[in-house]
Amino acid sequence: MKVVAQYLMVLTLSPLLLGVINRVKAFFGGRKGIPLFQLYRDLFKLLHKTPVYSRSTTWLFRAGPIVGLGAVLCALAIVPFSGRHSFLAFDGDLILMVYLLGLARFATVLAALDTGSSFEDMGASREVQFAVFAEPAFFLALAALARGTGQLSLSAMFAGLTPAVWQSAASVLALVTAALFIVFLAENSRVPVDDPNTHLELTMIHEVMALDHSGPDLAFILYGAALKLWALGALISCAVLPRHSASWFVDSGRFILMMFVLAAAVGVLESIIARLRFLKVPYLLFTAFSFSVLALMFQAAR
């Protein structure tokens, strides 16, 4: 029951993260900013619109958002909630999760390619490029956690992450968290990898791929992006919140709070640094990769 409640909570709360990010950014920009719940309204509005399809597209263009959303929904079933078991937890589930996110990416990219628009193709090209560098870093970060905790499922790993582990292996966990954070930014197309607020198609990654989508399709994409933000953010929150109390409510509250703190941190980050040049992004991801490798080395040396 709790598991279902957790899952529903994720489904309802994740669009709020984007609202938080935007409010924080507006605060730093000295603006009032859009309402916190704007995304909910947008989604609602979009679901009721009639889409417009390009003549060059096929069924794949329509299937892209569906698969993208479905895959992320499934991936979320694997992601732990406040260090507690999710309902699709098994040994090796992290592999399934990463590959499900890959499926979502693959579907989005193909849908973008279906339009035959150079801009969307360009975005798709960048999306796959960054994934190539981000995914090994992500995998190795999880491998470091697995070696540290001796567990092979995400839920068990984070459940096994106690304050004692943090005390004894703070350096490892800090490195892992840093790596995860970079991957989190890259995979969700946040600054410094991508700027969701830019208005020039040539410089975008994720947004540009959705240029042609409209109506419910666009709603699925936006919602899927919000869920993905939660999915990856949850891993970081779980990593930095090692303490588990007996009460599910306390834990959940703390965890959700942490998620918003994370969103706020992203907002702060986006306000104080600029987007990197595309050529530099691989270096950033390599940094994450080296953090993961370093974490593994420290872990091995312990």
Partner: protein, 655 residues
């Protein structure tokens, strides 16, 4: 075993009939294809039986030979390899019925069908052999038959070049195998597998290296792979499917059998296999990324997949040596299952590529595009293959890659050395996975999505019914394995137990049973979720008609199909990054003057190893041969002098 023999006989007999009916394309196709299908169906009976109830059947033909004997054995490992062979050859034969129609009237098809069936038969013989001599006979028949098929369109000089490279690679590989078997047979008069003595010490390592070279040449280990990207595109597509799907796996099969005779293994063998896997996997996919030709791309992707299989084999060997059995079991399982999976989806993809080539007359990615509108069925099948080969759930490619990755994860807590191997495996698998998905997004996108880039795509038609059926069967198999993976535990564990010891079989069942159930559940969930969302979307759009318009062009007034992002542009950030390995050559004739006429820019992803390793070596030997050709100078006096000098030297040294 009886049915296996029947299937080989049917194959050979139908090959003969196909030759006899050479005059009529219809008859020869009917005979050839029906022979292959009947043989596959009969052949599958004992195979499935052996996999369900592990058993060991033997057969010995009464043939007197001075060395070797005609003995055969069907055990679970052999059966496991026979499954893809039978399925793929049957599908490819059906596909070939339609595919070869384009040559009707231009070429007699009898030889092509005969060679196809001989190729199938020879693979069965290789797998069933329990003696070096029938093994090598099957092996060489396989090489010769596939060579004849590669050279099918021998009027093209490109094809002849591919043929020569393929031939030489095959010949060299066979010599290594000869050496390997000779080493195994050192201690006995016989060359039967059962009589092999384990070579001691250094000789074991030499035998292992011979196996790596001999089988690696067939499997396409980097840098022994150079024949592969030449030969596969040259062959007719259903043959490419069989070659890439199952024939190169015979190298893996042979390696597994050879490992069996080489116990105890050395740790460095595992490391060597891991290295080969890493290098082949990464370079294979990186080269695949840079290709312009769909069939070449698929050929390089085969190298990548062979890399994955070898990686699995490598961690398996390492696991056994270091006594980390879950790692070993999962590594071997991953390798084995990937053999089957790759046969299915690579066969499917080559058939898709063939359908495209057949329809559009070219497999050049930059000239294609938008074909999914004209060939919707082929597009769906190709998409299934592409997603499967990228290792995406819920398809079969994910399951085997999961085994290897999961195996590596289980070994993370192992001592530092093994853990390093595990970490390397994880990182490389992740990189290969994403690169492959980029590569196949490019391939699928360039061929089937967007708008057509050239006039060639205008007259495109959907693939013929048999072609469609063959692809459909393979696509269904890909989906089936993805969803029903728990069913694989028993046959896989039987094959592992047979090939690598019963302990590993049990270990595999223990380690993989539960995760596979979850994966299956995950796949079903995904399917359910997708169905739900689709229904939801239908519900939202009820009674509304989506409007149609042009693609958003960011305000540019007159876009043309040629202005679409090309396949090379799509991967350009990645190929730029890997330029040191790819050594892509750029040819640019820039704009000159005030009224520039035309400009041209194209890149060529040449075979790096061929240009920088083999061609110089071959030239060196040729130059050496040339330098010493004055020995045969034409002068009698010189010739007599050789005799005198040799005689004197012999008298001085030997008397």
């Amino acid at each position: 075993m009886l049915f296996s023999v029947v299937s080989v006989v049917v194959l050979l007999f139908s090959a003969l009939l196909a030759l006899i009916f050479n005059r009529s394309a219809l008859k020869t196709s009917a005979v050839g294809a029906s022979g292959a299908v009947i043989a596959s169906l009969t052949g599958l009976i004992p195979v499935v039986k052996t996999l369900i109830v592990p058993a060991r059947e033997t057969l010995s033909l009464p043939c007197s030979l001075p060395v070797g004997s005609f003995s055969f054995v069907l055990d679970p490992l052999a059966a496991f390899f026979l499954v893809p062979v039978f399925i793929l050859t049957a599908a490819a034969a059906l596909y070939g019925v339609d595919y070869l129609k384009q040559f009707d009237g231009k070429k007699p098809l009898g030889l092509a069908w005969a060679m196809f069936n001989v190729l199938s038969a020879s693979m069965v013989v290789v797998i069933l052999s329990a003696d070096a001599v029938p093994f090598l006979i099957g092996w060489e028949a396989m090489a010769a038959a596939s060579f004849a098929l590669v050279i099918f369109e021998h009027e093209k000089s490109q094809v002849r070049k591919a043929g020569i490279i393929y031939l030489v690679a095959g010949g060299a590989g066979a010599l290594f195998l000869l050496a390997m078997f000779a080493l195994f047979g050192i201690g006995s008069d016989s060359l039967a597998f059962s009589s092999f003595t384990r070579p001691a010490g250094g000789l074991a390592s030499v035998a292992f290296l011979c196996a790596i070279m001999g089988f690696g040449l067939k499997a396409g280990f980097v840098p022994l792979h150079i024949w592969l990207p030449e030969a596969h595109p040259a062959a007719p597509s259903h043959v490419s499917a069989v070659m890439s799907g199952v024939m190169i796996k015979m190298g893996i099969y042979g390696l597994m059998r050879a490992l069996h005779f080489l116990t105890p293994w050395q740790p460095w063998w595992g490391w060597l296999l891991i290295t080969i896997g890493v290098v082949s996997g990464l370079l294979g996919v990186i080269f695949a990324l840079a290709q312009h030709d769909l069939k070449r791309l698929l050929a390089y992707s085969s190298i990548e997949n062979i890399g994955i299989i070898t990686l699995g084999l490598g961690i398996g060997v390492l696991g056994v040596v270091k006594a980390i059995y879950p790692l070993a079991a999962l590594g071997f399982a991953g390798a084995l299952l990937h053999v089957v999976n790759h046969a299915l989806f690579k066969g499917l993809l080559f058939m898709g590529a063939g359908a495209v080539l057949h329809a559009a007359g070219t497999a050049e990615l930059e000239a294609l595009g938008g074909l999914s509108k004209k060939m919707p069925r082929t597009a769906v099948y190709f998409l299934v293959g592409a997603a499967a080969i990228a290792g995406l759930p819920p398809l079969n490619g994910f399951v085997s890659e999961f085994f290897i990755c999961f195996g590596a994860f289980t070994a993370l807590r192992a001592p530092i050395q093994t853990a390093t191997g595990a970490v390397l495996t994880i990182a490389v698998m992740a990189a290969i996975g994403t690169l492959a998905s980029a590569c196949f997004a490019k391939a699928f996108g360039a061929v089937f999505l967007g708008k057509s880039r050239s006039l060639k795509c205008a007259a495109v038609h959907e693939a013929g019914p048999w072609m469609g059926f063959a692809m459909g069967v393979l696509a269904a198999a890909c989906v089936f394995i993805g969803f029903a993976s728990p069913l694989l535990v028993a046959p896989l564990s039987a094959a592992i137990a047979c090939g690598f010891g019963p302990r590993l079989g049990l270990e595999f069942s223990a380690a993989a049973g539960i995760p596979l159930l979850y994966i299956s559940a995950g796949a079903l969930t995904l399917a359910a979720v997708l169905a739900l969302i689709t229904v939801f979307r239908k519900f939202l759009l009820r009674g509304r008609k989506p409007a149609a318009g042009p693609t958003w062009d960011c305000g540019y007034a007159a876009p043309s199909a040629r202005m679409q992002y090309g396949a090379s542009s799509f991967v350009q950030p990645l190929t730029d990054f890997f330029q040191p390995m790819l050594r892509t050559q750029r040819h640019y004739s820039g704009l000159k003057g005030f009224f520039p006429a035309g400009a041209d820019f194209h890149t060529e992803a040449n075979s790096v190893f061929y240009n920088h390793l083999y061609a110089p070596a071959a030239n060196l030997i040729k130059r050496l041969a040339f330098r010493y050709s004055w020995l045969q100078h034409g002068r009698l006096q010189l010739y007599i002098l050789y005799i005198v000098v040799a005689l004197i030297a012999l008298l001085v040294c030997k008397l």
